[in-house]
Symmetry: C2
Subunit: 470 residues, 2 copies
């Protein structure tokens, strides 16, 4: 049996008593922190925060009232880990950073790895950035400025400029001595990079390989034959895809001449992957990618309005189609009762196909090689379900309204709309992707337009032809 | 300037000439492989595959015709990296594994870390598992059997049982000697774990810390104060959440007595995170989580049918509501023309709120602490947009049909349906989450029912009251 003291220590490795079993922050702790901020009790706050991981500091900070957030940071002084700011929603982070004293911010930034510092700085306007950079040591300033010069969402923006690089002729022993003697190493690293005298990247060695090798062996001899690199200008999503595919833990970043300029680690990539999936999911639901839980009501309403407005135009187009058949509806009100069913089945089937297509495009599973096969597969699945629902709805319509021909009409319309939904659901995202647009953002309204217009047209049009004749 | 030969080597670190600039496999290479399989040219295939990363081997395997896939593996013999099988869709992997000769499979599995071996074995039925396990060395068999005994999607299933553990009293020098002399180390590792004589976990040291420390220092002295662990029975999604929050690269796994039984590394966690986001996205789009691009038409059609059938019931409920107002529609066909607009705006607004709510619940951003605030925020945003669209649609309706009162009726209905959509969009996922159901999977039909029924009832009901009086 594990003694209680040890177990307590083990279980709470991530910070004693911070969270309950669900992983939520303990309400008592939140209250203690809030009270201590209220009372400006710096000593109490320091005691509460001293052993906390940056992620826990961040979550505690986030639940405080907005005005208390910068106050907490000022009160904590050096106990506050500025890495915590990188874990916040952008809206919250920007607000806090703008409210902090410049000297607090500068002191905090000194302790950060460059990627985290850039992450905080990039939200600020140029003037505020310059004010902070001016007060940092020359070396840090140069590295941060260079990272900020890269476009947003590139490897250059996400990389940290602290890394370990040695020449290939060094022995394992000399490399280990070097690591023992160097003061300014990155906070955490997983590979030793190998460079030539012009700092051009020649390879990489994982730390476990260094540790396993005899001291007399040179680094050049143990270079991995599976090593890799990314370009500073590469898009962060492309880099994330490589990490995911090849199971990397870190990757060196080189510039256009092959010089080693930084390193990207998997913890940043995990955030990129989560963010990207999040953006696709929101886009498909008609929500802007940057919407956060901390946004104001007004901002939310405005940001959702544009999608709803676009949808309104789609819906009005469908109404115009219905209007064309107003005469038929007046003669047979059953058409008005049943028509939303046809459009709704089409809309849902279209969304199913579109969801699969958008996700497969994002993860690169869908490409030139298999597009045709997937289009055929979707159309065939649409036809099968179209026939199935034609039978079901045909029977329901006949039973409900007692008009046998109405069953045939809705059945035929159901087959047409489900095949159209399948084709629209796959061809529209594919076309948008080829045109360079993001299919997750723009497919929805087009697919709905197709399914609505085809749905109402097919059902009401066939009804008009059929019952018009008789 | 980088000389061409070096650049070539660098760019192709992940496998020479495998992919084009878009990251897609080169068509020429695919053709060469397909032809060589056709001709049973093992030597050619071995030359093509010898230097490829498992991920590239996997992608090449996946694009071949189904019958050629197991044939390729048999032809490659020891050149095929069985890790590649873990990167395939489950459907494809199961089909291939079942088609392979048992001895090929057994030979391939010997080379794998235990987590990858379990990943492949877990898809097989018990009899096939036993047949393969029987032919593995005693030690491997015991470790794999134990992992397979854990429930699916737990840390115990995902962990690898190869790790490095030393006692706290060992010096850094002795530890490094141990690593140099031990034959069977994990393929890659990032931490040295510290255990007591009963193998209970006492801490962990990152490899860079080992490398930076003087040889005479004991491991106990450099133990991280920020170390962590997970339980073997923990759900893999909870573990993924911890990796994401605390930026871990690996985590030791302990059993109920605190004994170290395995380690989970971040590359497996990246897959879990991507998978989880994928599941939520698909669920919201009405697609089953396990649907894959490699599934057959028949399977796809069947798997989508159930969602569409549920949606049909929802749509029929809406039709029943419309049927109640058939008299009003006969008198004023404009109602039939406009009613889908009200329902559609409600449906889309409901989906927006639901998307935000489902994602926030999944990432634990939405909890007891802020649920009330978010409900109020959504309702307020719904009211604002309800008023906006009331004005727009009111004006449109009046201009279109020349009936002033119709503008008032549709405006009022629009406000009601958008507030109902906001409340339904947030309260339904929250309620499902509290009841222990997955809100991503089940919210959609409930939210659509609310918006459809409220939309048609509000519009047609108000119209009936208003025009019935006059």
């Amino acid at each position: 049996m594990l003694d209680e003291a040890t177990r307590e220590h083990i279980t709470d490795g991530a910070g004693p008593g911070v969270r309950d079993t669900d992983g939520d922050l303990r309400p008592e702790l939140i209250e203690q922190v809030a009270n201590a901020v209220e009372a400006s009790d710096a000593a109490r706050l320091k005691a509460l925060f001293a052993d906390l991981h940056a992620a826990d500091q961040s979550d505690l900070l986030e639940v405080l009232a907005p005005d208390d957030q910068p106050r907490l940071i000022e009160l904590l002084g050096p106990v506050f880990d500025f890495t915590a700011l990188t874990e916040l929603d952008e809206t919250v982070r920007t607000r806090i950073v703008e409210a902090l004293e410049t000297h607090t911010l500068v002191e905090g930034m000194r302790e950060l790895d460059s990627d985290d510092a850039v992450y905080i700085l990039e939200d600020l306007d140029k003037a505020d950035q310059a004010e902070i950079l001016d007060q940092l040591p020359e070396l840090d300033r140069a590295a941060l400025s260079r990272s900020l010069d890269y476009p947003e969402e590139t490897a250059g923006r996400r990389m940290q400029t602290e890394f370990v690089a040695v020449p290939a002729f060094w022995s394992v022993g000399r490399t280990i001595d070097h690591l023992r003697e160097t003061e300014h190493l990155p906070e955490r690293f997983y590979e030793v990079f190998v460079v030539d005298p012009l700092y051009r990247l020649k390879g990489a060695v994982a730390l476990d390989v260094v540790l396993r090798s005899r001291p007399g062996v040179t680094i050049g001899e143990i270079l991995s034959d599976e090593w890799h690199q990314v370009r500073d200008t590469d898009d962060q999503e492309d880099v994330a895809r490589l990490f995911e595919r090849y199971n990397w833990v870190s990757a060196p970043v080189v510039d256009d001449t092959g010089r080693l300029v930084g390193v990207i680690t998997v913890d940043d990539i995990v955030d990129v992957i989560a963010e990207e999936a999040d953006e696709d999911l929101k886009a498909l639901g008609g929500v802007k990618a940057d919407e956060e839980l901390s946004d104001s009501v007004w901002y939310i309403a405005k940001s959702r309005f544009s999608w709803l407005f676009l949808n309104l135009l789609t819906a009005m187009l469908a109404s115009v189609v219905i209007g064309l058949f107003a005469g038929e509806i007046e003669k047979m009100v059953a058409l008005a009762v049943l028509m939303p069913i046809v459009a709704s089945q089409g809309g849902n089937a279209g969304t199913q196909t579109m969801t699969v297509a958008v996700r497969a495009l994002a993860t690169r599973e869908l490409g030139h090689g298999n597009a045709m096969r997937i289009v055929v597969r979707e159309a065939a699945a649409g036809l099968i379900n179209g026939l199935a629902f034609a039978v079901i709805m045909g029977a329901v319509a006949v039973a409900w309204f007692g008009i046998p021909d109405l069953g045939l009409v809705i059945g035929l319309a159901m087959v047409i709309v489900l095949v159209a939904a399948a084709l629209g659901g796959i061809l529209i995202p594919l076309a948008l992707h080829r045109l360079g647009a993001d299919p997750a953002v723009s497919s929805g309204p087009f697919v709905t337009t197709v399914t609505d217009v085809v749905g109402f047209c097919a059902f009401l049009g066939i009804a008009a032809l059929w019952f018009g004749k008789s």
